[in-house]
């Protein structure tokens, strides 16, 4: 299992907010919502859109390419055209450091 790696610091993101970050061999989106942090793969499972460029509303991110919505807490695909859930990753906060551990597929 991969280790936790520091990706950002508390305060780097607004609340609510998001940012795209490289972790190991992929790009992920880090979300901040109600002082909680969530992380998922940046690529939309429908057709490769960049979720990090989409609109964040409450706990839902909308892919800017075709409008698919995902729950940022679970990665669940909420609307068409996405039919496949997105991959989420573990996040923890130690002090002011935000750490992410990539979940294996």
């Amino acid at each position: 299992m991969p280790d936790f790696v520091k990706v950002a610091q508390v305060g780097d993101l607004p609340d609510p907010g998001k940012m795209i970050l490289p972790v190991a061999d992929r790009l992920v989106v880090l979300f901040c919502l109600d002082q909680q942090f969530y992380c998922m793969d940046d690529i939309c499972t429908h057709d490769g859109g960049t979720l990090g460029d989409g609109e964040l509303a409450a706990c839902q991110i909308t892919c800017p390419r075709h409008g698919a919505k995902f729950d940022i807490r679970t990665g669940e695909a909420l609307t068409m055209p996405a039919t496949e859930n997105n991959l989420t990753h573990e996040v923890k906060v130690e002090g002011t450091d935000i750490l992410v551990r990539l979940c294996e597929d």
């Binding site: 490289p22 061999d25 992929r26 790009l27 690529i43 057709d47 490769g48 960049t50 390419r65 597929d105």
Partner: protein, 438 residues
């Protein structure tokens, strides 16, 4: 050539000027490079939302981390090529880290006027010949920023010229190798004059299976009337190599090209393969084999462009995918208005060995003539569990059964490949990669 081993990774005007200064290119080639550099400087890297790149994410590629503009002498090759095993060759050209390391060429073919070896060297020794053909007709240097970068900064490379009527009955072997973290911007140029015949086996490899690297290359195949070329390209880079390439061919009247592509390695491969059938009765057959694993991503964009009448093209790409890998195949048959009686066919078959792998298959037709036969097909599916069960009932383990099924899947391609060493190498490479997903 100045063998100063200074390495720079920045891509700016000063670095490019220093790169040109290190080289001993003839004036026309320097000019071609400068024009390409000007194009490169004005262009942007491909946009995420462009149709061609919408499914291929290169945001993690940092081109400037690789030493592109070097004049380092090449060390000898440690990794073993595969396609030349047990084969008597007409010649072998080896490049490492983008520079020519070794050339062997049988005198008997040189006496018949065949020219073979390092493109870097032969661009100077056979200036007029190379100048007429290097990136003048087949390759579009302005296609995208990678094409412009390649045209400005290519080094090493391979060259073959077969004169009129000469039939070379032994294959040529071209090898491009990378050591960890290095770059290859090699260009391959093959010119067959009227009535000539040749076979070319090319392969790319890294020293170690998980090596990093960057390839921004190009291939140009010029097949004159009544000439026949069999060209094999095995891409077997390390698993962290970025592979961006433009492969182009022009097939003239009554000429034929059989092009076999095998893609096994790399972290991400994006290849544009364009074949133009410009003469009446031209024939092009492309056989593509892809095997992806882990998180590999391979995107092949092919074009069969029928310019003249009575042309025949047949593109068959087969891919087996496992783990979380992904392939994207976008094929286009384009028929110009005067290309009547065209017979064009393209097909892409994908075999998914487990959940999580994904294949996108997007064939297309753009036809302006009204008396043609153009067909395309695509299949994507999982391995049939009943087939696996049937094989296991007869004593196969599940892994053995999977291997046999995958081999059977590719058999249609193997049957079309007329070079035994290539069939053996591909079959073995694929069989080694199949894993058990019980």
């Amino acid at each position: 050539m100045n063998l100063d081993t200074t390495v720079t990774t920045e891509l700016n005007q000063a670095a490019f000027d220093a790169f040109l200064e290190m080289r001993e290119d003839p004036g026309w080639l320097q000019q071609q490079r400068r024009e390409a550099w000007a194009t490169f400087s004005q262009m942007q890297w491909p946009a995420r939302n462009s149709e061609e790149w919408s499914r291929t994410d290169i945001r993690l590629l940092n081109v400037e981390q690789y030493p592109l503009l070097t004049a380092s002498p090449a060390a000898t090759l440690a990794a073993q090529p595969q396609l030349n095993q047990g084969v008597d060759l007409a010649g072998q050209s080896v490049c490492r880290d983008g520079h020519s390391a070794q050339v062997d060429f049988q005198q008997k073919w040189a006496e018949q006027g065949v020219i073979f070896g390092s493109l870097d060297q032969l661009a100077t020794e056979h200036e007029a010949l190379v100048k007429d053909h290097l990136m003048t007709r087949a390759m579009n240097r302005q296609y995208d920023r990678f094409a412009a970068l390649h045209a400005a900064c290519w080094t090493g490379g391979h060259f073959l010229y077969v004169p009129r009527g000469v039939v070379v009955d032994e294959p040529f072997h071209m090898v491009s190798a990378l050591s960890d973290g290095q770059a290859d911007l090699g260009h391959t140029l093959c010119i067959l004059e009227e009535g000539a015949e040749a076979t070319v086996l090319t392969e790319t490899l890294s020293e170690e299976a998980d090596d990093d690297g960057f390839h921004c290359g190009a291939v140009e195949l010029l097949v004159a009337p009544n000439s026949h070329l069999r060209y094999v390209n095995l891409q077997n880079w390390g698993s962290r190599v970025w592979h961006l390439a433009h492969h182009n061919a022009i097939v003239e009247q009554d000429a034929s090209l059989q092009w076999t592509v095998a893609a096994m390695g790399s972290r991400l491969a994006k290849v544009n393969q364009h074949v133009a059938l410009t003469g009446k009765g031209a024939d092009a057959q492309v056989n593509g084999v892809m095997f992806t694993e882990q998180r590999q991503h391979m995107c092949y964009q092919t074009l069969q462009h029928h310019v003249a009448a009575h042309g025949h093209s047949d593109f068959l790409y087969k891919a087996a995918l496992q783990d979380r890998s992904r392939t994207v195949w976008r094929g286009m048959i384009k028929v110009d208005a005067q290309a009547q009686q065209t017979d064009g066919y393209q097909r892409n078959d994908n075999l998914l060995l487990n959940d999580g792998a994904r294949a996108d298959s997007i064939p297309g037709l753009e036809i302006e003539a009204d008396d043609v036969r153009c067909t395309h097909g695509s299949t994507t599916g999982r391995v049939d569990e009943e087939l696996l069960f049937y094989a296991q009932c007869r004593g196969f383990t599940r892994t053995e059964a999977m291997r046999v099924i995958v081999t059977g899947f590719f058999q249609q391609i193997f049957d079309r490949v007329t070079i035994e060493s290539v069939r053996n190498a591909l079959g073995e490479a694929i069989a080694q990669r199949v894993r058990d997903y019980a």
